[in-house]
Symmetry: C2
Subunit: 224 residues, 2 copies
DNA sequence: CAAAAATAATAGTAAAACTATCACATATGC
DNA sequence: GCATATGTGATAGTTTTACTATTATTTTTG
């Protein structure tokens, strides 16, 4: 398992007490990732999590308002990490085409190796993002939560990549639609590949087929 | 409100007793559409529905195993209806390009007019599909439910449209990825336009912008 | 070392998601 | 036309979820 020493900071709106500052907090976050990816978000409860970390539910509630905000926290952590990777991948790369290509790979490809930042198992987290992240905004509370900035990290990622698209073709009118289409699309393809294979095309044992599909799609779509 | 006299049949796996055969059953279905689009799926319960239709919860449970299978039923109804529209739109159209164009419109455009089939308000149902339908398969039970054929109607729609893609360009290798990408993508764009506008491009007051975006994307992507 | 902060232990609540039972009404088949 | 099957209503009960509240104990820190 590879370890990196960067530190991801999540907006204070997403927690009651910063879980990053205590052992219990970090344990809540890392164990919740394991438990959510094991049980799925619906069957996941703070009570079950409490049993695993040997703390009462009420202690978990001091960090997170609800299991929903915990999911928003995890999602936000993920997008902040993705943004870091986007910035890193773009550094010193002159060609916008090359930067876009690398960005699409980051947005659409699953992490291959075990990777852990702090106590966060990024690979497991990515599994959660694929299956559960849309549930953060597909709720009756979207508008309120959006006002509170719950989705800022995601928006920032989208913005950053759309800017590369615009750099390549300033006349292309729908960069946001395009980028959100491929982000959510890639999540779906990864999910379908595992659970509903007839909805995707993974007949070849070729790796990164999803990434290649989206790279092709994006460059064809934005060309003049 | 426009009424049409076609009849949509849903697979028996999706209900305990066919709601289509009794007044109570039809009332459960039509009122659930209104209530789900009002409360959102999470806050929707059989108890609340029972109060509206003035029947006890237990009577609703005679038709549907759970609120989850009711959602699967509604989704399946919707895709069966979409397939009917696809077949109808393709009838007597020689050009595959034209058939694909019309199919993409059907898959990506929201219904403009009020429309009711039997007691089903199709416009409200479409609102539910946009927000809630992904929740039918983003669960721990996907694999089991897939085996039972819960997602057959959706798969059939995807298959039908991919065949047109292949007719136009037999060498194109990823028709399923492409079609599911635009179906789910369009749902997202409609949702974002209403709730997270910075994730989309609806700055113009132009209608059918989402459809046009996807038509352009598809034809660019599949061209040789 | 005292005060403040964090955590544990325990209890309690309202609602959700069912399951069960029995009475009554209605439709159907012979 | 009557017995039987089927459908619906009324009511009650269970387990679990998603919290909230209170008090005691431990740990941190200034």
């Amino acid at each position: 398992m590879k370890n990196l020493n960067i530190h991801i900071q999540v907006k204070p709106e997403l927690y009651l007490k910063n879980p990053d500052t205590t052992d219990l907090g970090r344990n809540i976050v890392s164990s919740s990732i394991a438990l959510i990816s094991d049980l799925g978000f619906e069957a996941f409860t703070f009570k079950k999590l409490g049993e695993i970390i040997k703390s009462p539910e009420s202690s978990i509630y001091r960090y997170f308002e609800s299991k929903h905000t915990l999911l928003v926290y995890l999602t936000s952590w993920y997008w902040t990490w993705i943004e870091y990777r986007l910035v890193f991948a773009a550094a010193n790369v002159e060609s916008a085409v090359q930067r876009l290509k690398e960005s699409i790979k980051i947005l659409t490809r699953q992490i291959a190796e075990d990777l852990s930042l702090g106590e966060i198992d990024v690979r497991l987290l990515e599994k959660i993002i694929i299956t559960e992240s849309a549930k953060t905004y597909l709720t009756k509370l979207v508008d309120k939560e959006n006002e509170k900035g719950y989705f800022a990290a995601y928006k920032q990622v989208v913005k950053r990549v759309t800017e590369i698209v615009t750099e390549i073709n300033p006349k292309y009118e729908y960069p946001h639609m395009l980028i959100t289409t491929i982000i959510e699309g890639a999540h779906h393809q990864h999910y379908f590949a595992e659970h509903l294979p007839s909805l995707t095309n993974t007949f070849k044992n070729k790796e990164d087929i999803i990434s290649e599909f989206y790279i092709h799609l994006v460059f064809k779509t934005i060309e003049e």
